[in-house]
Amino acid sequence: MSKEQTSRPVILVVEDNANQRLYYQEELQDAGYEVVTAGSGPEALEVLSGGGVDLVLLDIGMPGMDGIETLARILEVNRELPVILNTAYSDYRDDFMTWTADAYVTKSSDPSTLHESIREALLKRGVQPPEQPEGESEGE
């Protein structure tokens, strides 16, 4: 996952559900990103301590350390790292801590909002997102 070998931005997908983790991994790889994954908050922090991640896609509802707690801890060590909260529920928006995230995306079958939020957050930090693969194949 070293950035030097590839100029593609690296996204850390944090998601406890293995199927969803795989889905986001493939979705983002298809869009031209390098993807690393973590199945829990502590695992995500472990990955982040190694550096090289450009953006975190963070699930909120995870057992143990949830996404909000993980977000707080990420902020503690790296204020600049863009984090996008990705959740099936919109209720968490009421939690003030979620406001520190770059975006709050509600999980849906249409990933276009997610892609747009990722591009925006990266551009804001001066990281060039991959060219949008217009009408590209469906991955796999």
């Binding site: 902020l75 204020r79 003030f96 801590m97």
Partner: protein, 415 residues
């Protein structure tokens, strides 16, 4: 900007649902050595009080009774004071409380970076309590203020943030945080120590200075704190957050703090330096002090020990003039002028104490002479000793402020 916009009673619900955060974490370096072993807000003030008592009494007298104190340096002294003097005043069962919040929110391995960071780290408290508004105060100011008036003003303006403002002469404002306001009281400019402070509309010689007393809409506060947390900077309300809000045209209003009886700027002091500490004590010993400690309408609460009455003996030699003398003091045939004696102080025969502040249990030995000094708790000034009369000599042993206030801190050895 007027006091009379709304009666205090108009904001009952906001008061009930309001929450207070008192910033009490400053190190108080400019009050060193008095803050060597105690938090600045826990420092004795006015003989019987601690500095923080003024802000807390304002809260309780204003009906704001959900109070969090954000502590940090030497917090033990502050926590002890709150436990002894304050916790029992508030009724937990009625939802009232006073609690100390140490730096804590996130991973807990760092201290507060700035005033905004201190509140940000306690965002969880705002989350859980969901107050209608947050009154953000400082634990080291001496003043008496009815926050209800300010809250009523804040609500009437529909403000995101209302800042209490004290009108000061423009030349003095160059040392302060200054708000430029329009006719409606809206803050259109904010700068720390501006070379050219913006005058108040219609009052060309005065400027509005920031008192560090804020009423926040909770949502606006949370938004600003979470934005600020992602930025590099000092995470300070005065230096970062407020200038950004004003620049972006957010609804920030200035509430002018005036004495409701006279319409003149009310008494307010930031007890930040040895000089201001000493001077505000000298304010208290004047015949009619601006800061009235004897006002039954606005009681000042504190922790009190069990002391016998103050006593003077050897009457023919005792001269006690323009001074505050607390319970438990004994002045025996000594001269005490324009001074403040905390509980349990003894001034022995032939001693002379002028324009000085003696903290709890200090003993001034026979024939000692003190002028413009602060003597820390339980120190014993030896017989015949002189302090505050020979600056060069004092500087070898004590801390002498640039303005000539001599401080004998705990642990000092007199010779």
């Amino acid at each position: 900007m007027s006091e009379s916009l709304a009666a205090p009673g108009d904001c009952t619900d906001a008061l009930r649902r309001g929450l207070v955060m008192v910033l009490a974490g400053g190190q108080g370096q400019r009050l060193y050595p008095l803050t060597m072993r105690r938090a600045k807000p826990a420092l004795r003030f006015g003989g019987a009080y601690r500095i923080v008592d003024f802000t807390l009494s304002n809260c309780v007298n204003s009906g704001l009774r959900r109070i969090y104190v954000l502590a940090q340096f030497a917090a033990t002294s502050l926590m002890r004071h709150l436990r002894r003097g304050w916790v029992h005043l508030l009724a937990d069962d009625l939802g009232e409380h006073i609690e100390v919040l140490p730096p804590q929110y996130m991973s807990g391995d760092r201290w507060y970076a700035g005033t905004a960071d201190a509140v940000f780290q306690n965002l969880r408290v705002l989350q859980d309590e969901r107050p209608a508004l947050v009154v953000l105060l400082s634990g080291d100011h001496a003043y008496k203020m009815d926050y209800r008036r300010m809250i009523a003003y804040h609500l009437a303006k529909g403000a995101s943030l209302t800042m209490a403002a004290l009108a000061v002469p423009r030349e003095k404002a160059r040392q302060l945080g200054v708000m430029g306001v329009d006719e409606s009281g809206r803050v259109v400019e904010f700068a720390e120590k501006p070379p050219e402070p913006k005058p108040i509309p219609g009052r060309p010689d005065e400027a509005m200075s920031n008192m560090g007393v804020y009423v926040w809409d909770t949502r606006a506060l949370a938004e600003r704190l979470t934005q600020d947390a992602k930025q590099h900077g000092e995470h300070d309300f005065g230096r970062n957050i407020i200038p950004a809000m004003v620049k972006e045209g957010d609804r920030v209003y200035a509430y002018e703090f005036v004495d409701p009886k006279t319409g003149r700027p009310a008494y307010w002091r930031d007890i930040g330096t040895l000089e201001s500490y000493w001077e505000s004590h000298m304010d208290l010993v004047t015949v009619v002090p601006e800061l009235d400690l004897y006002d039954q309408e606005w009681p000042l609460y504190t922790a009190r020990g069990h002391y016998p009455p103050a006593k003077t003996v050897l009457g023919s030699q005792t001269r006690l003039v323009d001074s505050l003398v607390c319970e438990g003091c004994v002045v025996s045939g000594a001269r005490v002028e324009r001074s403040v004696l905390s509980p349990g102080v003894r001034v022995q025969e032939g001693a002379e104490v002028v324009e000085s502040i003696l903290l709890d249990g200090a003993v001034v030995g026979p024939g000692a002479r003190l002028r413009r000094v602060v003597v820390d708790e339980h120190l014993q000034v030896p017989a015949g000793y002189q302090m505050g009369l020979d600056r060069e000599k004092d500087e070898r042993r004590f801390v002498v402020s640039p303005e000539g206030i001599t401080v004998a801190p705990t642990g000092v050895v007199f010779h």
